[in-house]
Symmetry: C2
Subunit: 204 residues, 2 copies
């Protein structure tokens, strides 16, 4: 077994990698993967292309790392939201599904990036495998939280949790999308608040 001894990344190096990644996520959200040039990203990060190619081998390389972080952050948010055991079902679920739509920075950036990653995954087989695995982790996390919460309240859902979660994701993303395209036509959370309780078997 040839375990390539990872040449330890210095703190300095890690810092510039982080800055580049952060810049990239903002530029990608603004212009899309193809629309973003390496120079755009470097400009925003305050570096030159030299720095970029010293840290990453290509834009694709960047995308892989970025999508990984993107999903990891989401799983974390879901997990944290699910921990509030004192709250009632509806509160917990609201928090959990708010997490789907809420990045501490900006919902818009988050949704656009998610969509970009998805398109990228549809087009590139390798990216697809990675993205599929990440999506599955997100769903699994949601299933766990929903099951726990629902069980605590002794509810019985009219549909399997997995399908409920898939529906919830679709609704959250769909309503965000509709709101971004037609800002004043749909109140924040209206769609989810109307539909999800029905799918939980609650009259609410």
């Amino acid at each position: 077994m040839t375990t390539t001894a990872e040449p330890r990344i210095s703190a300095r190096r890690q810092a510039t990698r982080d800055r580049v990644l952060e810049a990239a996520s903002s530029v990608f959200a603004e212009r899309g993967f193809h629309g973003a040039t390496v120079e755009d990203i470097c400009d925003r990060a305050g570096f030159t292309r030299g720095a970029f190619y010293s840290n990453f081998s290509s834009k694709d390389d960047l995308v892989v790392e970025l999508s990984r972080r993107h999903s990891e952050a989401l799983v974390d948010r879901i997990r944290r939201a699910g921990k509030r055991e004192h709250a009632g079902t509806d509160e917990v679920l609201r928090d959990v599904f708010a997490a789907l739509a809420d990045d501490s920075r900006s919902k818009e950036r988050w949704l656009v990036l998610t969509t970009e990653f998805t398109l990228h995954a549809i087009r590139d087989p390798e990216a697809r495998r990675a993205w599929a695995a990440q999506q599955r982790r997100v769903r699994d996390e949601l299933v766990t939280v929903v099951d726990e919460t629902v069980a605590r309240q002794g509810l019985t859902m009219p549909i399997p949790t997995e399908l409920f979660v898939r529906a919830a994701i679709a609704l959250a993303q769909g309503s965000m999308t509709q709101r971004l395209v037609e800002p004043r036509s749909l109140a924040v959370g209206e769609l989810e608040r109307t539909v999800l309780p029905i799918l939980l078997g609650v009259d609410a």
Copy 2:
């Protein structure tokens, strides 16, 4: 009022425009707007860039025309599916919402293009206005069909038709997306078949 006398487009010209547009929609679906070069499109259409610039002023010009056709075709499909008055509610609705996901050519292309248009609209204010108007027409068409069908059966929906339609769109697109990313994880129509009847107030 200066009504610029439209210089009538010849049949030949219209034919090449059509071929270019068809090629563009296929290339856009494969590589995205930014990823597609004018030359890519011309190659696929069997023309040179000379022909392109003789017919369109830019790639953006193309996108506008294309998104218009895209939505028009969808409205048509919905309208046709809604006309089958002999069928039962569930059949009609299945057909109608299948129309959401079904282009005679390819569902995949249709979904990807819809997503590309949406991203484009989020980024470009002018494109947004056009796309928002088109989305509204699609929804209105769906609301009409659903109302008619539901009324014919004397059902009462637990939520307003408009919200039902928005949810149905989100679910259809979400499930298609999930299926494209993780092909074997969700059966075709499973999500919609499970959720929509509940939202219609049917036990099914």
